[in-house]
Amino acid sequence: MRELVVIGGGAAGLAAAVSAYDSGIRDILIVERGTELGGILNQCIHNGFGLHTFKEELTGPEYASRFIKEAEERGIEHVLGAMVIDIKPHCVTYVCPSGVVMEETKAIILTMGCRERPRGALNIPGYRPAGIFSAGTAQRLVNIEGYDVGKRIVILGSGDIGLIMARRLTLEGAKVLAVAEIMPYSGGLKRNIVQCLNDYSIPLYLSHTVVDIKGKERVEGVTIAAVDENRKPIKGSEIEFECDTLLLSVGLLPENELSSKAGVALSPVTNGPVVNDKLETSLDGIFAAGNVLHVHDLVDYVSEEAAIAGRNAAEYIKGSFVEGERVAVKAINGVRYTIPQYISKEAGSVTIRFRVSGVFENKYIVVRKGDDVIKRIKKRILTPGEMEKVELSSVDFNDDITLEVSNG
């Protein structure tokens, strides 16, 4: 029986494997679906990765290569072109070029990442012409495969991938006509608004959405319209763009088909596993980290989180894992969710990551244990696009923890 199987060799999987190794585990296998390690970082050729981890600005492939090197230096085994088709506690089944393999293992770490929300989830009317891509697919086609995706482009959604692609396609010679965002604020980082849109005079239409796609064989035009406070299109506000391509950058969903089939309890808010402070899921010996757990905006935080999962999986494998009573972490009043959702009573110190549900200025993040306030942090600004964290140290977790956005 193997000690540890890591599912997915991207940012999270590599960091989890390296950390488990450094905690004394030697018999590790990373199972990767793609043809190389590194995951989605390989197609993220822009810079801005690694500021927290390496104190320098790296591109995606450079960031990935640092972790691949760390895994290689430790002799951590991996298999490529291998698709996991089933997991259950202490067993992973995958299909790879040499056949179907059932790998019995003491522990499993889920690091499958996330997927893009597709057009089908949006109810946009019109035919289904060629020329509609999710932003990440377009990113892969351009950066890895070397294709042009289009000449005149409209982007729906102002998430970071959409913004990055607006710049990328402009540099490649395409004309990006507009980025439409249904919310009154962008879900992307400020830096990307400035350096990907403003630098190239690409207009951002806030509180706008796509109401029509023209063209039967290929996209011929896209109509956007302003939306009211209920996100319903306002008649008469339509703007038409003649274009051949529509990119969708409308959110990411943790990829949990395997987890769900295995019976791992999932959160309806994050769409990822429910975990305790050790990042262990509801199933024995199955841990989770990275975008499969909740969607991150910075890869540095993915690596950090995955290292925690790796360490705890190692403790579990060595049998030094204490599974005691636990308390719940509750997200209320403007806090949308927290990771973890549970903390074991003897945890002592825990980092809680969370997101808020709207834009808040000059508020406090208040952490309570039972009715007692144990931490209060002033925040100049909180936005749904930026993941937040609070560190709780030396706390006796003998009552439920609550996080909220508060005036005082």
Binding site: I45, G146, L171, E172, K190, I193, R380, I381
Partner: protein, 120 residues
């Protein structure tokens, strides 16, 4: 005296910065709520710089593109001139991360450097 506006990128607050200047002399920076905003506005006005990241065509490799970046950052105004040269370039394996593909690209003084390995 002239005025320029910038959105600060240092944090999610995104302060609207107004710089008053006369030629190359900055008279005032307003709208910032911390010192980083002041510094950012001055740099954006006088010498805005960007890292250009892109890909270069390959020959003799299973990979059709290799990713690249400019080191150090180039003046913002030279981005499209640099891209013209990037688009004309074809490379062959082997390449390692950090290998210089073009010295002094488009006379900017910066190099175009590989950001991924390229094997056959």
């Amino acid at each position: 005296m002239a005025k320029s506006e910038f959105i600060c990128i240092n944090c999610p607050l995104g302060c609207m910065l107004t710089v008053e200047y006369d030629g190359n002399e900055i008279i005032s920076v307003k709208g910032n709520t911390c010192p980083r905003g002041d510094k950012y506005a001055r740099q954006e006005l006088l010498a805005p710089k960007r890292t250009v990241t892109s890909t270069v065509r390959t020959e003799g490799s299973v990979h059709r593109r290799v990713s690249v970046k400019t080191v150090p950052e180039i003046p913002k105004k030279d981005i499209f001139r640099v891209m013209e040269e990037v688009k004309r370039t074809v490379v062959s394996p082997p390449l390692k991360i950090g290998d210089v593909i073009i010295h002094d690209i488009a006379d900017t003084g910066s190099d175009l450097v590989a950001t991924s390995d390229l094997g056959e």
